[in-house]
Subunit: 100 residues, 2 copies
């Protein structure tokens, strides 16, 4: 039975989508850096790649519910949605982080 | 430093490849059935799909090192490579199976 949702609220991404988003070496590296550093501004990742590619990878992670953002002044801070993921998929993120 | 490998032996798939292989609802369902039933012959999955599609999904899982096969008479039995996965990525499969 589908869960009740607010109108216009997107459904929570399922497990397959979360795994698909994580199934990329660049995105795993972003997750690794976020896990170690807590919050990272968009320009603060230690990765040598075009800004447009980085934006794409961050968007995939965000749309899968893995990554959240918050504004800090003119800066956008990225963070892992650890609690949300743990509620939805207990043990999943932990099982991945320990292998990064 | 790369691990020593036998000549012509393919490198073990990395974490990103394993997650990518698992990032599909059909393949997660195959993994779920294998986890519950132990071994499943190719024609024995409870899924209504063309044989060619099933073969494709089984091959993706096999090439990612998630699924193994063994011949039993004229039949090919499929099984989860639990021990191998646990050695390579401790806690990963468990973190996924508990959410299926």
């Amino acid at each position: 039975m589908p869960q009740t949702r607010l109108k216009n609220e997107a459904p929570e991404p399922g497990l397959a989508r979360v795994l698909q988003a994580l199934g990329d070496p660049i995105r795993l590296e972003l997750v690794r850096q976020l896990a170690r550093r807590g919050e990272v501004p968009c320009g603060g990742f230690d990765l040598d790649m075009p800004k447009s590619s980085l934006s794409h990878h961050l968007r995939v992670l965000r749309e899968a519910g893995i990554l959240g953002t918050r504004a800090e002044g003119t800066c956008v801070m990225n963070f892992l949605c650890r609690d949300r993921l743990e509620r939805r998929f207990p043990g999943l993120l932990e099982g991945i982080l320990r292998n990064l």
